[in-house]
């Protein structure tokens, strides 16, 4: 167990370092100059640009910039804001001169939004996806199965921004069932929180769901063909029990890994969702940060994504081992 932990952690650190280095290089190569962007649109003289570059630390060679970043990550780092010095304590992901705040803090403020979005949507797409998939497997070849298949294929072919816009148009404009979603923190008003997130949840879930429908349908069909299902039937277990306990368990355990990856990769998919619904989450911030060439924020986000991927993968491994006892022998 200790060996496992050591391997996982060291692997994760390596992965994160590589990812952050790649981002540094990429942004360094990008034509847009962050100093130029803060300097102003008109008449930014070269010496003023140089001053700004210096104050942002952009005049240093790339490897030094990255080195300072690494040092900051482990030892914290000081940033000058003019009259005073801001200390960014370790693990310092950097300081955004756009937001005038340490990156970690900015991310922390936005995490609840993306978190709420993802967790709610995940619950939806998992339950709906699995439910429909299983039902379609049990009705294999019948009309329900065909309908589900068609919907799944359609769902795969319609990008999320179309679904999101349609939903907004229909629910908020035509039917006026609810106002346009805005972000209300959970601790402020749980009911409003949920009310505002319902639509984004549904839309995100709808676009993520098709894969789960297919997987659970296929998994179900495969498990139903397995020997132990025959055993269960041969011993006269009621069909409800055969399906509900034995088939389901086998069919769904492979979904754990998939779900972990999807939840980890959600930042990508939440980009458009958050943009369409105007939710001030990490996805929306990613868009703004890339647009503003806000390197510290982008690096911070990338590290966060990497970290989440590693964590989700680890959780998936452990969970899988817990569900399928063959994987781990205690």
């Amino acid at each position: 167990m200790l060996g496992y932990a050591v391997r996982r952690v060291s692997g994760a650190v390596a992965v994160l370092l590589i990812m952050s280095a790649v981002v540094y290089v990429l942004f360094f190569l990008m034509p847009a100059n962050p100093a130029q962007l803060v300097c102003g649109i008109k008449a930014c003289t070269p010496d003023r640009l140089a001053l700004i570059s210096h104050s942002l630390g952009l005049d240093e060679p790339l490897y030094l910039q990255y080195w300072h970043f690494l040092v900051g990550l482990f030892a914290g780092r000081d940033y000058s804001t003019g009259p005073s010095i801001v200390h960014c304590a370790a693990p310092c992901l950097g300081y955004s001169f756009q937001y005038t705040e340490p990156v970690l803090q900015i991310i922390g403020e936005r995490l609840p939004v993306s978190g709420s979005l993802v967790i709610g949507a995940a619950i939806l797409w998992l339950s709906l996806g699995i439910g429909i998939g299983v039902l379609s497997a049990l009705r294999r070849g019948r009309w329900l199965d065909h309908v589900v298949n068609a919907i799944v294929l359609g769902g795969l072919a319609v990008p999320i921004f179309i679904t999101g816009l349609m939903a907004l148009m229909i629910v908020c404009v035509w039917l006026q069932w609810m106002p346009f979603p805005t972000w209300v923190p959970f601790d402020e008003d749980p009911v409003l929180w949920a009310q505002n997130l319902v639509l984004p949840w549904i839309v995100l879930a709808l676009t993520t769901m098709p894969v789960y429908v297919r997987m659970s349908r296929a998994g179900m069909l495969e498990t139903l063909a397995e020997d132990h299902i025959r055993t269960a039937r041969a011993y006269g277990l009621p069909e409800r029990q055969v399906i509900g306990r034995h088939a389901l368990r086998g069919a769904l355990s492979p979904l754990i890994t998939l779900a972990a990856l999807d939840i980890a990769g959600i930042l990508t998919s939440s980009v458009l969702t958050e943009t369409v619904f105007g939710l001030p989450g990490l996805g929306q911030m990613t868009v703004q940060a890339v647009r503003n060439v806000d390197l510290p924020v982008v690096v911070g986000l990338v590290l966060l994504i990497g970290f989440v991927i590693v964590v989700c993968n680890t959780i998936a491994d452990l969970l899988y081992a817990a569900v399928d006892k063959r994987v781990s022998v205690q």
Partner: protein, 566 residues
């Protein structure tokens, strides 16, 4: 790279649903507006993104200091808050007048009003104004306009108050209420410049450098109750402000709540629908796009809630007049004749959002607009005339040029306009190769002579409604900057024009100056140094309970300090 696109697309879909949503709307706004009885209510502001801009008076660009900042930051002078051409004039704000110049307009003196206070009750002094200006020089607080840097005597190398607390000698504060500026050359436009947020007072004791923007100290009618950058901001009344000390701002709403991070289409949709609080909503950064116009025809009620204005702006094709083939005036004229302004205007959004340009100055009285068209190309261009000119210049087989444009269409210098130009030039035997440049680095690339493309689609807007800032950076031969930040992409250098510019700079009467700028414009355009394409106009929606949302020729949009939701 633009993410605008992703959000823009929302618009059409959303607006598609408007008709049913707002059938019989506008009865609530029936009572007439009364400035003396407009106070109360909460105004909602629905905006896209404020993460990249900074709510620090030192970091706001002059023309960017328009709406919310002017509720917090009072400046020495300000714009007259009036509709149309009357709104493009300077009015005193903190100062008692728009400035007392010396004879050649190189020294400007201002006196502060009585009873001015910050939100915490401390008195506003001339030293506070001076300190605010000095902050704008600090490299830690970039973003402001460069005029003070260029105009003040000996200020070019001033590093800001954090590195040099001695301050700028060219700004004198003989007493707490007087401030004097010494300029290195005549600038009759100085009162316009004094409307910039750099001229807002900042109490030195409360300066936190880059962190100041989290809670800037207000001198205006509102102060910040809470501010979460990129997400939301709440403004409440500043009890240390009153109309008695500020004749310009009405400040009707009791409270202003701004939401950031919204999709532009969602903003327009919410303003259109106007359910609940959205009836009291406005936006300060979202205009209507071409695809959203058709519905205005079908919805007269909605059409009434559109503020129409023209922020002075000109789009044009720029090229280096010193390089072949553009060093031949006949080639330049040929380009002017070849352009099809109808298709270009259509590409820019159609006749409701743009109008053809044959002058460089936009149709704005205060800027000195004079109508002329030296190379009449008609509605759809005159390719025959262009061909003839080219042949005269020795290009009977036509020419090939590379035209750069911004990679995305969120301004009017993107692929749409560029392809319209390409198509029109084709007919005149001018083959255009398009070069797409990433949006974020476009301005940097075209404004650096070392990287300047052969030709490019560019736009220019006024920092204030006067001919000076519109013409000088583009056509003053001495403003050519070989190291970058150069907007004289034509490399235009006409001694007569240079002399005219110097002369007009000494004029302190705006009307007289405007007259002269119009003449300069015509003088320049005769030489066809660039091909003017079109000027833009803006259409902006406001909520159905919002009153007094008028538009001035200065900003082109409605003014939050004047609107009411009561």
């Amino acid at each position: 790279m633009t993410w605008r696109g992703s959000s823009l697309l929302v618009a059409g879909l959303l607006l598609a649903g408007t008709l049913t949503a707002c059938g019989g709307g506008a009865q609530s706004a029936s009572t007439a507006f009364d400035a003396n009885n407009c106070q109360g209510g909460t105004l909602d502001v629905l905006n896209q993104d404020d993460a990249a801009s900074h709510l620090d008076p030192a970091r706001l660009y002059t023309s960017g200091g328009g709406n919310i900042p002017s509720l917090l930051f009072r400046t020495l002078t300000t714009r007259t808050r009036k509709a149309g051409a009357d709104g493009a004039k300077v009015a005193p704000d903190l100062a008692t007048d728009t400035g007392e110049p010396n004879a050649d307009a190189t020294v400007w003196t201002y006196h502060l009003r009585d009873g001015l206070k910050f939100e915490d009750g401390t008195a506003i002094t001339a030293q506070d104004v001076k300190y605010g200006i000095e902050r704008g020089f600090a490299a830690e607080l970039p973003g402001g306009a460069p005029y003070l840097h260029d105009w003040l005597v000996g200020a070019q190398n001033y590093p800001g108050p954090y590195k040099d607390p001695n301050g700028i000698a060219a700004i004198e504060t003989p007493d707490a209420k007087t401030i004097v500026f010494h300029l290195n050359s005549p600038h009759g436009d100085f009162p316009y410049l004094a409307t910039a947020t750099q001229f807002a007072p900042v109490p030195k004791a409360q300066d936190k450098g880059a962190d100041y923007e989290k809670h800037p100290i207000s001198s205006g009618p509102y102060k910040i109750e809470s501010y979460d950058k990129g997400k939301s901001m709440v403004l409440v009344r500043n009890t240390n402000w009153s109309r008695a000390v500020d004749p310009n701002r009405l400040a009707c709403p009791d409270r202003i709540e701004a939401t950031y991070g919204l999709d532009p289409a969602v903003i327009n949709q919410r303003l259109t629908t106007g359910t609940g609080k959205d009836g009291d909503a406005v936006t300060t950064d979202t205009d209507l796009g071409p695809s959203e116009l058709a519905q205005l025809d079908n919805n007269p009620d909605l059409a009434k809630r559109v503020a129409k204005g023209g922020f002075p702006y000109t789009y044009y094709i720029a090229f280096d007049n010193t390089k072949a083939p553009f060093n031949d005036i006949r080639v330049r004229q040929a380009l002017s004749y070849a352009i099809d302004r109808t298709s270009v205007v259509n590409a820019a959004g159609g006749s409701s959002l743009a109008y053809p340009a044959t002058t460089f100055l936009p149709d704005n009285k205060n800027m000195g607009y004079q109508a002329f068209d030296f190379f009449p190309a008609g509605k759809n261009g005159d390719p025959a005339k262009a061909k003839q000119l080219l042949a005269e210049a020795g290009f009977s087989n036509g020419i090939t040029i590379t035209l750069a444009h911004r990679s995305a269409d969120f301004n009017q210098d993107g692929p749409k306009v560029a392809t319209a130009v390409q198509d029109a030039f084709q007919k005149a035997g001018i083959t255009v190769k398009l070069q797409s440049i990433d949006s974020d680095s476009y301005t940097t690339t075209v404004s650096n002579p070392a990287t300047q493309p052969q030709a490019s689609v560019e736009g220019w807007g006024a920092d204030w409604p006067s001919g000076g800032p519109f013409i000088i950076p583009i056509f003053d031969g001495r403003q050519y900057l070989a190291g970058g930040g150069n907007f004289n992409t034509a490399h235009f250098n006409d001694p007569k024009v240079n002399a005219d510019i110097d002369a007009i700079n000494k004029i302190t009467d705006p009307d007289q100056a405007a007259q002269r700028w119009g003449q300069v414009d015509s003088e320049i355009m005769k030489q066809a140094p660039l091909v003017p394409l079109f000027h833009t106009t803006q259409l902006r929606l406001y909520g159905k309970n919002v009153k007094n949302a008028f538009v001035s020729d200065w900003t082109g949009v409605y003014d939050l300090s004047q609107v009411s939701v009561k």
